[in-house]
Amino acid sequence: MTATGKSLLLVEDDRDSGAELVELLELFGFAAVHVLGIDEAVAACGLELPDFAVIDASVGGNAGCRLGRDLLDRSAGAMRVVIVSGRELGADERALLPSAAAPFLLKPIDLDALLAALNGSGGGDLPA
């Protein structure tokens, strides 16, 4: 995947693991920014939406999928959103973001699967 200069927002409330993942994503050419919560994410997207977002489903009290839905709606589907979590998603979360719109990956993430999901060539772990 060629990601040089592509902006990526990582929404992850685990400060240390978010920082590590941002470092790795930068090695793949993303201009990655890490925020810890919903408010910071909304602020980061205030003027310009990123090309990609990787969102932990559990941020903001399991509000990650809602954030992903909002970002997709704002971008009219132009953004690529990937949802990640250390748990399976609930039915309400799946309904907000079916895998075709925003693939889901269980943590710990296979970096190749994440890159494929960001590239639109991977369907994530959810059934279609």
């Binding site: 269980l106 710990p108 970096l111 190749d112």
Partner: protein, 137 residues
């Protein structure tokens, strides 16, 4: 370190070593053999990686500042019980400068591997290759 070309076979190797020169040497040797490496200078950094990113194996110094390698293993195996790539002791290779029977017994009892320093890179690459091959199957 891990780069976008991803020439590596399988998942990356998390390399945990507090001696910067040795960490660089380990990474270079592994990368020259086609493995992707994620470096970490201590157990806290390593756990942060393990909470988010799947790794094929963990190459880990026993003596680390703060939390030692054995404690890191015990915390790591408790992570991500529902994940697609759960960490288990069989994915750990420890490095130690001390040939200590009790330590070797403890590590073997956990199901991990132990290599002595100075590192025999041929032995390391052979072991990592076998373990990564097994991890992919």
């Amino acid at each position: 370190m891990l780069d976008r070309a991803r020439p590596a076979a399988g998942l990356p190797i998390l390399c945990v070593e507090d001696e910067p020169d040795l960490l660089d040497d380990l990474a270079l040797e592994l990368e020259d053999s086609g493995f992707a490496v994620i470096p970490a200078a201590n157990a806290v950094e390593a756990l942060a990686v393990l909470r988010s990113v799947a790794v094929g194996l963990v190459l880990c110094d026993v003596q680390l500042p703060g939390m030692n390698g054995i404690a890191l293993l015990r915390q790591a195996v408790d992570l991500a019980p529902v994940g697609a790539y759960p960490v288990h002791a069989g994915r750990f290779v420890f490095l130690s400068a001390f040939s200590d029977a009790d330590l070797a017994h403890e590590i073997a009892g956990l199901g991990a591997q132990l290599l002595l320093k100075p590192v025999d890179y041929d032995e390391l690459i052979a072991l990592v290759g076998a373990m990564q091959g097994g991890a992919q199957s």
